[in-house]
Symmetry: none
Subunit: 231 residues, 2 copies
């Protein structure tokens, strides 16, 4: 059973985008485009985590937070806009388990969601679908907390983009990741002709650092015409 996540944002584009990323992560996503819909969903359904936009036309996010807390203990992450008055934002985000400032990188949001679920499922009542802070595969080890990577025990220093690429591929190991998806997850921008090359150069640097030979790669393999995969 996958974790169920409630996403609340009146901006359809943002809500849908977030929904897509979370779905790709293997979550069951429910989207509400208004505070009213969200309130209804909160009362009628069970979730493992909620993502609330602070600014809603009908109900503000803080009220929804209270609605949730009245009968549930699952983590709540608030989405706040950067422009609005900071004091108000702080007040509103009071009581949330975490909050993310818009615009955010998809990977950052995903990371925070995972972090909260880790804490919730390990301390809470639910059976643990243990999301470990360190990811291990073959001789490759990724520590999310420290953002560190080791290959056969030897530490490897990666740049932010290299790390993001590796993490995304590792978290989707066993699945082919289209270059387009990879680009959007890491850069949070639309894929353009030419972006392809950018990704490739980073892949190359990455492979160099983790000791991967493009001709006979141990970790990051290319799927011709589609993208990359870690098996």
């Amino acid at each position: 059973m996958n974790e169920r996540i409630l996403v609340v944002d009146d901006e359809k584009a943002i809500a849908d985008l977030v929904g897509i990323y979370l779905t790709k992560e293997g979550f069951d996503v429910q989207i509400a485009y208004s505070g009213a819909d969200a309130a209804k969903a909160i009362l009628e359904q069970e979730f493992d985590l909620a993502l609330l936009d602070v600014m809603l036309p009908d109900i503000d996010g803080f009220e929804l937070l209270h609605t949730i807390r009245a009968s549930h203990t699952y983590p709540v992450i608030m989405l706040t806009a950067r422009d609005a008055q900071q004091d108000k934002i702080e007040g509103l985000s009071l009581g949330a388990d975490d909050y993310v400032v818009k615009p955010f990188r998809p990977l950052e949001l995903i990371a925070r969601v995972h972090a909260q679920l880790r804490r919730y499922t390990s301390y809470g009542s639910r059976a643990q679908a243990t999301e470990l802070p360190t990811l291990q595969l073959d001789g490759l080890e990724i520590n999310r907390d420290a953002r560190s990577v080791t290959v056969d025990g030897a530490p490897v220093r990666l740049t932010p983009i290299e790390y993001s690429i590796l993490l995304y591929l590792a978290e989707h190991r066993g699945s082919v990741v289209p270059v387009e998806d990879l680009f959007r997850a890491v850069w949070n921008e639309d894929f353009m002709p030419g972006s392809n090359n950018t990704v490739m150069v980073h892949i190359r640097h990455l492979r160099e650092k983790i000791g991967d030979d493009a001709q006979k790669p141990r970790f990051i393999k290319n799927v011709w015409g589609v993208g990359y995969i870690i098996e």
Copy 2:
């Protein structure tokens, strides 16, 4: 028998939220929305810990603290508003065991409650794992009680902000702390473009005082594009 906790805050929303979080942790929670109610509860009931808002319409939080201390020894944690630099010192010197600045993360509050209860119950009937007042790592030693720091045994004098930064990094050792998180934790304000530089200057002073070279740091290491880490 669960520990009993008294929560005092005139803002119903906040008090209720705190109550929910504590209940979820397994505590018996009693909430007072006014200083008068709180005073009554203090006299009539026994508690293991109290959370007091400093700003109350009718009675000052410090007065409640005195009321408690007149006949009880259980830990008291003060909730202070943003501007708290002065309140902090005053509250502590007046006998509060800890303070939490609003807005706070629920997890932080819970952690402090647990810490205080551990200390309190370890002196009482219940044997418990001791909460170490001093944090040690390599040659760095941080004494929370005395707010003092030594490097290889040599005392180092830090300003409040420097100390806060070091303490936060030390408490999260092994994890990369994003500059934004660090800023929010120390300043209790939202991160703005330009805050970055402020953090850096303090990091520089800090490194200077603890004998850290930015090029090859022993304690505070930088993770490019993200933040800082003590390993």
